[in-house]
């Protein structure tokens, strides 16, 4: 059974052909597209033109891919400052779609697509899905939100192009999600990792073992997730959980996708050019060294992005992948530079908590970090929901569990941590991106 599934899953799909371009042709293609993109942005986007002039660089100066480093960065604040239409490189009459990402502070950021842009987006999403082994005949539950969020529609169009059967259920109504997953014999799914784990919990409470359903693959993304989360999803659902990398500013989902070997997403480099920089100095770092991912769009018409700083911390993986794709891979995003918490001067990432949780009991319960300040000193509490695997009837075992979790976290973070075991479902669930941190330090 497994052998058959592997065979089907690894079958080569024609949409994947660009994934295997010989490297010298790929670099040629990238350079041509980069030059056109820089020209287009310079001619049509005031902010890019002014910055390039200030930096003493003109579109004609881009003679090789290495010249990319001469160009100025674009940051998220630029999209906010030019809200809503200030970075468009074409007349509104050519724009056929707008999306927006929720800003945590007031105004959202807006992104635009021409018909060509949508076609490219659809093609990269189809390639992403094909690399997860999803094909015509698959029944796909699209649990990403439909609407201004790029997740729902991005997957939707890619799936239709591939010929898979889409269930456009969108996010929310978890009981119905579980019912449809079972009744419609769903074979594949997309969601945020935290929402999918919530679905698994709910299914188990409803007496449904997802491992026994036909579900076999999922594309997950739009929030950083750890290997611990992957383990939880794969074990709990009996599936392969693939990373789908993307961000609204670049196109939405489909900037990169993991292949069968799950060694970090391959970037669809014929459309999105990756660099990694030291976030402090802005200088490029060598392959294999961790830093902030910077992406330049190579074919976007409505809103070209020159060296967009993603805030995602990763490294370009230099080794070739066993799948044979020539597209470079990045390390899967486990953290973002803006996820980083500074607690009593120590840098802390939520993914470190996940690693500690997995190390203790081999499971990844739902958790939340609560930061407070007492007498000027930062206090960190980690609330961990008790799962059936963690729970026993003996109080001593539960107290020991609490101590072990505390010890593992303190060891991994180098900080004093108060661990609280809490009831299942007492931490609020999100249908989209999980809210892992509640920072109340400014309230006291």
């Amino acid at each position: 059974m497994i052998a058959t599934a592997e065979k089907v899953t690894q079958r080569f799909h024609p949409v994947s052909a660009p994934d295997y371009l010989p490297v010298h042709l790929l670099r040629d293609l990238q350079l041509g597209r980069l030059q056109a993109t820089v020209r287009r942005a310079f001619d049509n986007v005031a902010l890019v033109r002014e910055r390039m002039k200030a930096g003493g660089v003109r579109p004609d100066d881009i003679e090789s891919l290495d010249d990319l480093t001469r160009l100025p960065f674009t940051v998220k604040a630029d999209l906010r400052d030019t809200y809503p239409y200030g970075l468009f490189a074409c007349p509104l009459s050519d724009i056929v779609r707008l999306h927006a990402s929720s800003g945590t502070t007031g105004k959202p950021i807006v992104v635009a697509y021409t018909q060509d842009d949508l076609n490219v987006w659809t093609s990269v999403m189809a390639r992403a899905l094909a690399s997860y082994g999803i094909h015509r005949g698959d029944i796909f539950q699209n649990a990403h939100g439909y609407g201004l969020f790029t997740g729902g529609l991005g997957f939707h169009y890619g799936l239709e192009a591939l010929g898979a059967t889409v269930i456009p259920i969108s996010g929310g109504n978890t009981d119905r999600q579980v019912m449809i997953m079972k009744d419609f014999k769903v074979t594949s799914i997309c969601a945020t990792p935290s929402y999918f784990v919530h679905m698994l919990e709910r299914a188990s409470e409803m007496g449904i073992d997802v491992r026994e359903l036909p579900l076999r693959a999922g594309g997950f993304g739009s929030e950083p997730w750890s290997e611990a989360m992957r383990h939880r999803m794969e074990e709990g659902a009996g599936i392969k959980a693939y990373d789908c990398y993307g961000l609204t500013e670049i196109t939405g989902p489909g900037v990169g996708a993991e292949c069968w070997f799950q060694r970090g997403p391959h970037i669809f480099e014929d459309h999105f050019y990756p660099e990694v920089i030291d976030p402090a100095t802005g200088r490029n770092v060598p392959d294999g060294v961790e830093g902030e991912l910077v992406v330049t769009t190579l074919s976007k018409q409505a809103m070209p992005m020159i060296r967009f700083r993603t805030r995602d911390i990763t490294a370009i993986e230099p080794e070739a992948c066993q799948c044979g794709r020539t597209l470079r891979r990045i390390r899967r995003i486990g953290r973002r530079s803006d996820d980083m918490l500074i607690i009593r001067g120590v840098n802390v990432y939520p993914s470190q908590i996940e690693t500690a949780l997995l190390a203790v009991e081999g499971t990844m319960p739902h958790y939340q970090i609560i930061l407070t300040r007492e007498k000027g000193l930062d206090q960190m509490e980690v609330q961990v929901e008790v799962t059936p695997e963690l729970f026993g009837d003996r109080i001593r075992a539960m107290v020991e569990l609490n101590e072990k979790l505390t010890h593992a976290m303190e060891h991994s973070l180098g900080l004093r941590v108060n661990v609280s075991l809490v009831e299942p479902h007492s931490i609020q669930r999100s249908e989209g991106k999980a809210k892992r941190v509640i920072d109340r330090r400014m309230e006291s």
């Binding site: 026993g392 009837d393 109080i395 107290v399 009831e423 299942p424």
Partner: protein, 147 residues
């Protein structure tokens, strides 16, 4: 010989214990006996109920984490030395009592104690060899039904 005990994880906060009790009540499930162990932060509610399979399913559907443990019900003479005679049997054995609590026996001259042993089967063998009455699961559920 062994009886199924349901355990629930509860946060140590006002109002937490009433919710599962209300849920079981609404479905006509009788809690025959219970015990609570608590720490400053959380507690464990342990119960022997009239229909443990249904109770367990209802509580899981309501989102509780439910643990099933096999405990042993032992009839103890309700007189001085009743419990100590029993415990002496286990005194020099490797069997450890994790915790215990009482169960209404429905008889005047005896009490029934619920024991959580680390090794229930070894405990039962030792107790029976010493002639101590271990209440069978059928009997205890009958008492649950009829009491």
């Amino acid at each position: 010989m062994k009886v199924q005990q349901l355990s629930l994880f509860l946060e140590n906060q006002p109002g937490q214990i009433v919710k599962p009790c209300r849920l079981l009540a609404s479905q006509g499930i009788n809690i025959r006996t219970l015990s609570v162990a608590d720490t400053k932060q959380f507690g464990i509610l342990r119960m022997i109920v009239s229909d443990w399979q249904r109770a367990s399913q209802l509580l899981k559907e309501a989102g509780y984490v439910v643990n099933m443990t096999e405990v042993v019900a032992i009839e103890v003479p309700d007189q001085p030395g009743g419990l100590s005679t029993l415990l002496q049997v286990l005194e020099n054995s490797p069997v450890n009592v994790e915790y215990m609590y009482s169960f209404p026996s429905g008889r005047r001259e005896t009490a029934v104690m619920i024991f959580r042993f680390d090794h229930p089967d070894a405990a039962i063998t030792l107790l029976q060899a010493a002639g101590i009455s271990v209440v069978s699961s059928v009997e205890i559920y009958n008492r649950v039904e009829t009491a």
